[in-house]
């Protein structure tokens, strides 16, 4: 006999897809229509390519598009190379375990805060220049354009330091199933070094497992808006930033051009993915020839050192950047080239702390609500999978990654148009729904493995002892999996806290979170306020992780069996 609610549970996967992909599809439609001359807002319909012609006449177009492609491909290739080098050279060593432990906290740092931190390090008046000043004899900041450089190099750096932890985490999740230790030992017995052995026997099997995360990184990097507003060039900016400028222009007519540019951005993302796929095939071909040649590789030491240095550098960039934010937020007068301010003062916090309380409250409400929805849907999907013996296909995984691969800037403008039509713009529930689209994939990806790894015999025992299916869920499975559930919730909160574009566009500029506040400060340049705001943003993303660690530690303090679960 089906339990009450079983029908609902059975439909959970479908409902989840609808909640997650519905807005993506609707947003794409809302972007495509105006781009091709059909205005849902006014009911005008002059189908044609006029908007694209207008876009082509914009003088910055070629440079803007090239910037997007270049920074996207560059950041992804660099982040992947660093990740692979770290794993190839150091997996299984003590240095690697230290790195591993620092990973999750690094991952939770919002992109905008990491970008501001990096800016505070590498700017001509930043910590690095201050450290070099006595050696170089600088008495004032050197006159070089580092931040927002025209080639987008600092933008690439800002993306790499955030994407390396993500790719590393995805790699670590995929590695154990591949039993890299055994393969590597075999290769080493055949005379291969650690790095060449790893690249020849582990990487070819690993890459297909992390392909989707790599695609997500690529699509994200080439369409990112907040990091690009902070670190990217301005005249012209990468295409995604330009779309946002046109979207927020008081001249409504520019919105159609924004839509056309958003469609172009989607095309760029598809082209980049295609290029990347070709690159994959090329590298695989070269790799096979390299393997067949039996080359044992040279420069093992150099590669290992490079991996460790780059990995440590990218981690240090985030950590030191946060330190720089913290110091600026309490800095009194701070002249160049002093390493620290002459005086510390709480003035910034006192003056702007109150102003942060409203955005903080909104940030918390939106993050908690979006995470609650995402967690409920994820649990319902996983439970349905368990109860009805459903087997998610490889295609389901693609669908899960879809919101992470379709560029936000390609469908959020359309979603904003629809929200305005429906009178929902600036409405908090609409912003929450938009956040769910991005929070859900991360919550699901974070929870699915530990949830599925649960020993179902516990369930069989509980059923045989008289507990029904929901009794097993609430009284056995959920408490046993409290730690991964809370971790997934923390991941969800961090993702929501870091969202910029969905808040800005669907919120119609009227819903303010710490992230929208922080990014809005990018053009102003008051370092003390930026420091305080970005630090508050980071704290908001960190706090849930602290809770996710503390609650199970307290609740299960006398339960040794769950301490490492």
């Amino acid at each position: 006999m089906p339990a009450p609610g079983a029908g609902l549970l059975r439909r959970a996967p479908l409902l989840t897809l609808l909640v997650m992909l519905g807005p993506v599809a609707a947003g794409l439609a809302g972007t495509l229509l105006p781009a091709f001359g059909i205005m849902p807002a006014t009911g005008e319909a002059m189908p044609g390519l006029d908007q694209f012609r207008a876009l082509a006449e914009w003088p910055g177009l070629a440079r803007s598009a090239a910037l997007s492609l270049g920074t996207g491909l560059g950041a992804t290739a660099l982040a992947l190379a660093i990740t692979v080098l770290i794993c190839a050279g150091w997996h299984g060593t003590r240095a690697f375990r230290v790195l591993e432990r620092g990973l999750s906290p690094l991952l939770s740092v919002p992109h905008a805060a990491a970008a501001f931190g990096l800016a505070f390090l590498i700017a001509p008046s930043g910590w690095i220049a201050r450290a070099l000043a006595p050696l170089a004899g600088w008495e004032r900041p050197p006159d070089v354009l580092i931040l927002q450089d025209p080639l987008g190099l600092s933008l690439i750096a800002g993306l790499v330091v955030k994407e390396v932890p993500f790719l590393l985490l995805m790699t670590l999740a995929a590695l154990p199933l591949l039993r890299p230790g055994q393969s590597l030992a075999t290769a080493q017995a055949l005379g291969y070094g650690r790095v060449s052995g790893w690249l020849t026997v582990v990487l070819p099997r690993l890459y297909p497992q992390i392909r989707l995360p790599v695609y997500a990184v690529l699509a994200f990097s080439l369409s990112v808006v907040d990091v690009a507003m902070i670190l990217g060039p301005n005249t012209p900016p990468p295409l995604a930033v330009q779309v946002l400028r046109w979207m927020s222009d008081p001249d409504i007519a520019l919105r159609s051009r924004a839509a056309a540019a958003a469609v172009l951005q989607l095309g760029l993302a598809l082209a980049a993915l295609g290029l990347w796929r070709l690159g994959e095939i090329g590298v695989a071909w070269l790799g096979r020839r390299w393997i067949e040649a039996g080359s044992r590789g040279h420069g093992e030491g150099v590669l290992r050192a490079a991996g460790l240095t780059l990995g440590a550098l990218s981690g240090a960039a985030v950590v030191l950047g946060l330190c720089a934010l913290a110091v600026w937020s309490v800095a009194g007068f701070w002249g160049f080239p002093d390493m620290l301010p002459q005086a510390l003062s709480g003035r910034t916090w006192m003056r702007h702390g109150m102003a942060l309380s409203d955005p903080l409250a909104d940030t918390a409400v939106i993050a908690l609500a979006a995470t609650a929805v995402a967690l409920a849907l994820t649990l319902a999907c996983l439970e349905a999978e368990h109860r009805f013996g459903l087997h998610p296909s490889a295609r389901a995984l693609w669908l899960l990654y879809l919101p992470l691969i379709v560029p936000q800037i390609a469908f959020l403008p359309g979603l904003q148009t629809l929200a305005i039509l429906g009178g929902l713009d600036g409405n908090r529930p609409a912003v929450i729904a938009a956040h769910v689209v991005f929070v859900l994939p991360y919550v699901f990806l974070s929870l699915a493995d530990p949830w599925r790894a649960w020993d179902t015999r516990h369930g069989a025992v509980a059923r045989a002892l008289g507990a029904g299916p929901s009794g097993v869920f609430w009284r056995v499975r959920l408490p046993m999996l409290l730690r991964p559930v809370l971790t997934a919730a923390a991941v969800g909160c961090a993702v929501s806290v870091g969202q910029f574009l969905p808040t800005l566009l669907v919120g119609g500029g009227r819903v303010q979170t710490l992230t929208t506040e922080a990014v809005a400060l990018a053009s102003g340049g008051d370092r003390r306020v930026i420091g305080a705001t970005a630090l508050a943003q980071t704290a908001a993303a960190f706090l849930p992780f602290a809770v996710a660690l503390a609650v199970p530690a307290l609740a299960w303090r006398n339960r040794r069996g769950l301490r490492h679960g």
Binding site: G389, A460, A464, L465, G466, V476, P479, M480, G561
Partner: protein, 211 residues
């Protein structure tokens, strides 16, 4: 239908492939041992009897328990207890909590339920263990808690899935004796799957071999 557990022309298949066929009756207090190499479907047989057969399998035939047809009942309504190779004590509950989880709903009232749990612990020489973390128990102690947890749910039949193979030789004999004695005392039909011939000998009942 007779008292005891009856597997009435049971046939389990996965798609087109027949996994096993069994037709047997286990009288109250009797032990039926099913032996076979790993992969012969022993655990699948037990899953079919407790009602947790994965949807990928199909089941033909009927399972009767004391004259009730339990084939289509959900596991929690079958009153069939099971012990696995691992004790599978719930790690988030105390020893007392584990026993209370098993204790039948028919025992009502906090005081009465606590007394029943204390009594069960006493019966297996673990008096006063209520608040203990199950992870801190020895293998033999865990096995005793798992046995009492299952018996407190007042099952009408008992299934054993290689329940003694994790214990060292010395403890194995004692735990085995304790389990079979409790089953005989309560006149429970016992269905045991194992690959250990010693288990079959100690059970002293009939042996069916799957291949």
């Amino acid at each position: 239908m007779a008292e005891g557990l009856t597997l009435d022309d049971l046939r389990i298949a996965r798609g087109e492939d027949e996994l096993l066929r069994l037709d047997a009756h286990v009288a109250p207090g009797e032990v039926l041992t099913v032996m076979g190499p790993s992969g012969s479907g022993k655990s699948t047989l037990l899953a079919a009897v407790i009602g947790t057969l994965a949807p990928a399998f199909s089941l033909e035939g009927r399972v009767w328990l004391d004259g009730r047809d339990i084939t289509a009942l959900p596991p929690e309504a079958r009153r069939v207890g099971i012990l696995f190779q691992d004790e599978l004590l719930f790690p988030h509950l105390s020893v007392g909590g584990n026993l209370a989880f098993g204790l039948a709903r028919s025992v009502r009232g906090r005081a009465a339920r606590r007394a029943r749990v204390a009594e069960a612990l006493q019966e297996v020489g673990l008096a006063g263990f209520e608040a203990r973390d199950p992870a801190t128990l020895s293998g033999g102690q865990k096995a005793r808690v798992a046995l009492m947890r299952m018996l407190l749910s007042e099952p009408q039949a008992l299934l054993l899935d290689e329940p003694f193979s994790r214990l060292d030789a010395d403890r194995r004999d004692r735990v085995r004796e304790m389990v079979f004695a409790r089953a005989r005392e309560r006149a429970l039909p016992v269905l045991m799957v194992t690959h250990d011939a010693e288990d079959a000998r100690a059970a002293g009942g009939r042996v069916v071999t799957l291949d």
